[in-house]
């Protein structure tokens, strides 16, 4: 009996000592992001996996994992494979985002994909700058996110959509006389409106009337629609969210006014509004980086793979942004000949130069994507048109 007790104590002590050794060993080799010797680069992802914004974070995590698996299945790039570690930041703009970031560093993150939401991203950009980690965010779209030189975006910066919309309308000769209805009390909407207006003037588009509304009066648009109608606008530009847009479409119809409609990614989602009469949206054009129903091969392949892997769920724009993000990282790693044993800082120095130096990327969310040194992406936006109750590429 006494002997058994002693044996047990001894073996327990041995287990404890052992686990301590392995634990210490693991963290000491990874915590400074100094690279691993097994030929794998660790990409750290951060986004909301729980809470109200969880659908965005989960989409990013799933799509990023899908991209990583695809790359590894093909043998990696230059023999280097990737590993994705993902932490939940709950879209919190404070401590939780920083904690998630620190956890990623502990897990040996060498490159960062994230964060998913703007608030969390602003909480960590100065940390990644300090630690000199290359950071590319799939979907944080505010201008401030990319103020440091090591941070880049896959998605459009908000106001850029206005410029891109004006360019698209002018270059494809869609309309000359344009009316705008925008939300004067919303930064997204008025940001797009301002850049649209400036670019439209440059491109010779004629803005016949500018109408606005505020968050307190966003159900009655009859005055705005009458103004657009009597100014004989051929196209109604709607840099707003889909709820108000669905009302404008209905009210235009009952006023017997049928201009062309053009919107930005805020309109994405209009077809999934409860009880929405889809025929109202027929012919609406919108500038969105990604439509799951688009017919091009790359999109089809991605949607199919995503659905197979994740319970037949249709990927959204966030998933596509994340998928592109991983592929962008892989392509940069290939181009610069990054090795898995390089430190995060070394990788960052090389990648941040490389991405704005003649690098071009064709992805799900845009063709011929290039980056300026300030971190904003320049890509030809994809315009989609709503046809037979579905999004289809223009």
């Amino acid at each position: 009996m006494k002997f058994a007790k002693k044996l047990m104590a001894l073996s327990l002590a041995a287990v404890m000592a052992g686990s301590c050794l392995t634990g210490c060993g693991d963290s000491s080799s990874k915590s400074d992001g100094s690279g691993s010797s097994d030929g794998t680069i660790v990409i750290g992802g951060s986004g909301p996996l729980t809470g109200s914004a969880a659908q965005y974070g989960v989409a990013v995590k799933n799509a990023a994992q899908l991209a990583v698996d695809e790359i590894n299945k093909d043998g990696g790039v230059n023999g280097v494979k990737f590993k994705l570690v993902f932490e939940d930041d709950e879209a919190d703009p404070g401590d939780k985002a920083v904690n998630a970031y620190n956890a990623l560093k502990d897990k040996g993150m060498q490159i960062m994909l994230g964060t998913v939401t703007t608030g969390s991203c602003l909480a960590v950009i100065d940390k990644t700058k300090q630690d000199n980690i290359f950071q590319i965010t799939p979907s944080a779209s505010a201008q401030d996110v990319i103020k440091n030189d090591n941070t880049f975006q896959v998605c459009f910066t908000d106001p850029n959509q206005g410029k891109a919309s004006a360019d698209y309308i002018a270059d494809n000769n869609i309309a000359k006389k344009i009316a705008i209805i925008y939300d004067n009390s919303d930064a997204y909407s008025s940001g797009i409106y301002n850049t649209f207006k400036a670019e439209a003037a440059e491109k010779g588009l004629d803005i016949v009337t500018e109408q606005s509304f505020t968050k307190d009066s966003k159900t009655d648009f009859s005055a705005q629609i009458t103004a657009a109608k009597s100014a004989e606008a051929e196209l109604l530009f709607l840099p707003i969210y889909y709820q108000e847009a669905s009302l404008i479409l209905a009210q235009c119809k009952s006023a017997d006014y049928s201009p062309k409609f053009f919107g930005c990614d805020g309109l994405d989602g209009i077809l999934s509004v409860d009880n929405f009469d889809k025929s109202l949206a027929e012919g609406v054009m919108l500038l969105t980086p990604f439509a799951a129903d688009a017919s091009d091969d790359a999109t089809q392949k991605f949607v199919k793979a995503y659905k197979e892997k994740y319970n037949n769920e249709t990927p959204n724009q966030f998933a596509a942004d994340a998928y592109d993000g991983i592929k962008i990282i892989a392509k940069l790693v290939e181009k610069e000949g990054i090795k898995a044993d390089m430190s995060a800082s070394e990788i960052c120095d090389k990648l941040k130069k490389a991405i704005s130096d003649g690098f071009k990327f064709d992805g799900l969310t845009g063709q011929g994507m290039t980056w300026s040194a300030d971190g904003a992406v320049s890509k030809n936006p994809k315009a989609v048109v709503i046809k037979d109750g579905n999004y289809s590429a223009l």
Binding site: Q224, K229, L247, A255
Partner: protein, 293 residues
């Protein structure tokens, strides 16, 4: 042409305000309390029609009847549970309770129907009228709103002045205690008032959601407040006053949005409230009642 269009839209919006304002005015005139939950009963009416028509697939008329019944019962329940125990309390307590009921209804709707907006299917089936080669269009909803509000005003006036229940309401509005001494059941009269007011709210909800087909838990909040302004403008307590006030407020709002600034349109509506209170506190058709000392 554009002016005529704005005017018609204004009258259309104003008729809806008028129907809502009638509910405010009726309850204030008789129970002497401001039922700030009135706007949210409108929202409940909207959701009732939506659920009956879209979720359960009922026909339009049955769905409309269902909504009126739901709102009427809700109105009576609210009165019994929240207002009746406070009959003798100060008007401030009742007002605060009404605001509480308003928030309760809004959050209950959020819990049941979640935050995603619903698109409302119009219950109006009247063809639109084209004037001047299609330059001016009168929507079916506009015609319906104007007709319904006129019918309600005439009907209510007849009811109040020419039926026994109606005269009982008038008596309660003038002097509760004296009415009771004359053998009028004050409690049931007030319940009836709430029932009619809430039934009107259901009608207003249908008109509102048919014209502006979106439904969220705050759908009734802003129209409710503007209709309150309309009721004060027309003279609170006065039925034709609510109609006139409603239409004027709607026209002011739309013309302001068109010719002055969309940002200032709401501010102008409330500026009207302040002006009315300063210049003629009893409103356009309000009666001046001399307080007995």
């Amino acid at each position: 042409m554009a002016f005529l269009d704005y005017l018609i839209n204004g009258i259309s919006l104003g008729s809806i305000y008028a129907v809502i304002a009638l509910g405010y005015t009726l309850v204030y005139g008789i129970a002497k309390m401001l039922n700030f939950a009135h706007g949210d009963i409108i929202m409940v009416g909207g959701y009732a029609v939506f659920t009956a028509m879209v979720t359960w697939g009922w026909s339009t008329w049955v769905a409309m009847l269902f909504a009126v019944v739901v709102c009427t019962l809700l109105g009576i329940t609210i009165e019994k549970v929240a207002y009746k125990p406070l009959r003798k309390a100060s008007s401030l307590s009742v007002l605060i309770t009404a605001i509480g009921v308003s928030y309760f209804l809004q959050n209950l709707a959020l819990l049941i129907f979640d935050e995603k907006p619903k698109v409302f299917t119009s219950v109006v089936n009247i063809p639109k009228i084209n004037l001047f080669d299609g330059k001016v269009v009168i929507k079916g909803e506009t015609t319906a709103a104007i007709l319904v509000s006129v019918v309600i005003v005439v009907g209510l006036s007849l009811f109040i002045n020419h039926t026994q229940k109606g005269r009982a309401m008038l008596a309660v509005s003038e002097d509760k205690d004296a009415a009771q001494l004359m053998g009028i059941n004050v409690n049931s009269t007030i319940s009836l008032t709430f029932a009619i007011g809430s039934g009107l709210a259901a009608v207003a909800g249908m008109l509102l959601c048919s014209s502006y087909p979106t439904l969220t838990n705050t759908t009734g909040a802003m129209p409710g407040i503007k209709a309150f302004v309309a009721a004060v403008f027309g003279g609170i307590g006065s039925i034709p006053g609510a109609m006139i006030g409603g239409i004027l407020i709607g026209v002011i709002e739309i013309l302001g949005r068109a010719y002055i600034s969309p940002q200032l349109a709401d501010a102008m509506v409330f500026a009207v409230l302040i002006l009315v209170l300063m210049i003629k506190p009893t409103g356009i058709l309000g009666k001046k009642i001399n307080e007995k000392v």
